[in-house]
Structures are given as C-alpha cells and as structure tokens.
Subunit: 202 residues, 2 copies
DNA sequence: TAACTGATATGACAAATGTCATAAGAATAA
DNA sequence: TTATTCTTATGACATTTGTCATATCAGTTA
C-alpha cells in the first residue's frame, strides 16, 4: 500500500484528485492541504511515500516544500503538479531533485501512471513541458536588464530604480533603452507585455 | 439518470471531474471537451441534461457557450465552473440565465450537491463569490476612463489612443491624469498594477 | 432650479522618458 | 591575443507624460 499526500490550493482539484487516487487499490491518501505550510508540517509528521505538490500555494510554494523535504533528507517521492511550464520552476524542481514534474494539462491517468513509475525509481518530466521550454523564445535580456525590468514592472520611476539598484539615472535609462530595443518596442508598458507573453517575467 | 457534459480546458480537472461524477449512481457523463467550440457543437448534438462549463477556454468561452445554448432555447441546466470571482463574468452568467455559478475553490461535494439542486429547479450562486464581489473595492473609474486605461494597457502612446478613440491628445492626457489621481498613482504602470489587483481590468 | 458629474477641449509648464554618441573597465569567447 | 559582451557612466536632445487652470455642453440628482 502506497501512502500519498496531496497539496493543491484549488479545492476542486484537490478533492477530485483525492477521490480518484483513493479509487486505486494500492493507493491511500493520508492527508491533504491547500497551502504550503500545512503541507510541509504534515508531510514531515505523516511520512507518506509520495507527496503531490502544486507550485503556487499560499505561505510556501510547492517548490519550497520540496526543497525543505530534501534538506530534511526525508525518504519521500515528490511529484510537482502545476499549470505552469516555466523554465524557472522547472529548474528549481530539478535542483530540488523532485521525482516527477507534471502539468495539469495532462489527464489523471497520466498522474496515476507517473506515481507508479516514480515508485519504481524512475524520474518523470512531462514531455510537453520539456519541449515547450525548448521552443520558448528565449530571453534576450541580460541579468541586469531583467532586474531593471522587474523594477519598472512595479511602476517605479527611473530615479526610484536608480536608487534601489545603486546606479545612475542615466545608466538606468540606457538599460531601459536597450530593453526597448531588444523587445522591439518604444515604451515600458509594451516591453512588459512582450516579456509577460514570453514568460520572461511573471 | 442524469446526463452530464463537461467542458473544462485543464485536462487534469476535466478527467478528474468526469471520473468523480461517474461515481454517482444517477449521473452519466456523456461527453467532454477542452475548448468552447467543441463544447457547443456537442452539447447541441448530445442534448445532455446538464452542462458544466469552465469560462476561460480556447475558441469560445463558457459564457459564450451558455449564451448560445440559451439562444437556441435548448432545455439544459448550465453550471459555470470557474476560478475567477470577477464581477463581469458573474453578470454575464446571470444574464445568460445559467443555473449555477461555482468557484473552483469549492470541493467536489459542493459540485455534486449543486447539480442536484439545479435539477430540482433551484438557482445556485457561490456564496463566496457573491460576498467577494460585494466587498471588492469598487471601480472608481468612469466608463470612458476604463476604456482609455485598456488602451494604454496595450502599451499605446497618448497619440495612438487619441486616434483610436477619436479624442484629442490633450483630452486623453486629461483622462489619464484623472485615472492616476483616482488610483493615487503617478504613472500608467502603477495605475495598471492597481487596476489589475482589483480586477478592474484583466 | 441649482448643483453636480461626465465628456470634451485648449494652453502652458515641469518632469520623466527614450534615443544617441561615446567611453572605459572587466570578463569571456574565439 | 583580439573581438565581443556586459556593466557602468555622461551629456545632449527631442518627445512624451503628467499636472493645472479653465471652459463648454449635456445629463442627472437634490
């Protein structure tokens, strides 16, 4: 019998998954949460064989929960289950040595199958995810430019950005000018729209 | 026996709901789709008793599907199932005379319960939704201001907006100035951030 | 009716934004 | 070693943006 813990903040999916996995003869749902903090404390207490973790949850993200569980060296298989095919998320998941990374854009059969495979020692990364990351138009912005973009995405003015990143006003304007040119735009808002569409920023 | 059709673009939830509702003795899932267009053509063909419609789907939104079904005067109970507690969506749903509006932030039990109630002739609006709409800080922008805001959210410049809405450049600037003052901000980006947080725009 | 709000407009002004040329040091790649 | 890229910076310039005062006209509300 395999014990499973589910952390998913969307109630509908959370309860639906619990019900479905319970139907499998060899699975037993031992608990579930809708936020990361409860998920972490309960998985450490209940020690299930498998934890299914959503990424975007209140208090602690599923990725942070996974990291903690690895730091605690708990013997647990981790499945990250998310809507987002974001490179950043995927990289963090790989670093946390999760056993599977699955998109919610897969049917439940796939989840069951995945759980069985990771119990077998395999590591499963959603193939749609991997290909979508590879085909994603890659970010042409330098780290510094990205940093500046995140600043102005909050609505900060050039001067505020300059102060917050310890650069001169002119340098910040140069970076922005470069961002605009790389995105083929002529204003911060347009640049932000492009960056969001391409998942360069949230 | 009640026949049910499910339209939900997130595969995981779609298949999970199908499986769960199938478990109920008196429910029979007769079809499901992950986009609005198939949902509309199949519900008109299969004539299920109940259609569960997600809002945000490719090609046609669940709300549009609901509208069409009402125009066609098909005898069908409609449940809108969505993540979003947006006033606009809710109003559109009420106008389309849907039988229930449920948030994905409710457990599956609630869905089953809701389906049974609407089959009984009741109309069910998620109580969390209704209260969240009532408490939502209401939009202080006039229709015209909102229109202008949508324009600049696309990154348009004052001049472009002026041309697209047939106003003078100065008038557009006045509107924007008024928007900034109402949102307590000093730049378009800040104003957009506030508006998004409060769901005044998408 | 009087007061208010909304839509529209102009003109003037200060501040912010975006563009360019130019430069220099550091790091990295060829 | 040379070429390229990244980070940082300045100065100058044109344009855009945001603010204010002011005004007219049409509705709506008190």
């Amino acid at each position: 019998m395999t014990t499973i813990y589910i952390a998913e903040d969307q109630e509908m999916l959370n309860s639906a998954l619990s019900a479905i996995l319970e139907l499998e003869n060899d699975f037993n749902i031992v608990g579930n949460a809708t936020d990361g903090k409860s998920a972490l404390s309960q998985t450490t207490a209940l020690k299930p064989d498998v934890a299914i973790l959503d990424i975007e949850m209140p208090y602690l993200s599923g990725l942070e929960v996974a990291q903690q569980l690895r730091i605690l060296k708990q013997d647990i298989k981790i499945v990250i289950l998310t809507t987002f095919a974001r490179k950043k998320y995927f990289e963090a998941a790989v670093n946390a040595q999760v056993d599977a990374y699955l998109l919610k854009d897969s049917p439940t059969d796939k989840l069951v199958e995945t759980i069985n495979k990771i119990l077998d020692g395999q590591t499963i990364y959603d193939s749609n995810l991997v290909s979508s990351i590879l085909t994603a138009s890659k970010n042409p912005l330098t780290p510094q430019e990205l940093k500046i973009m995140k600043e102005f995405s909050q609505g900060k003015t050039t001067q505020e950005i300059a102060e917050s990143v310890f650069l001169s006003n002119g340098t910040v304007r140069n970076y922005i000018s470069s961002i605009l040119s790389k995105t083929g735009t002529h204003s911060r808002i347009e640049a932000l729209n492009i960056a969001k569409k391409n998942n360069w920023i949230d």
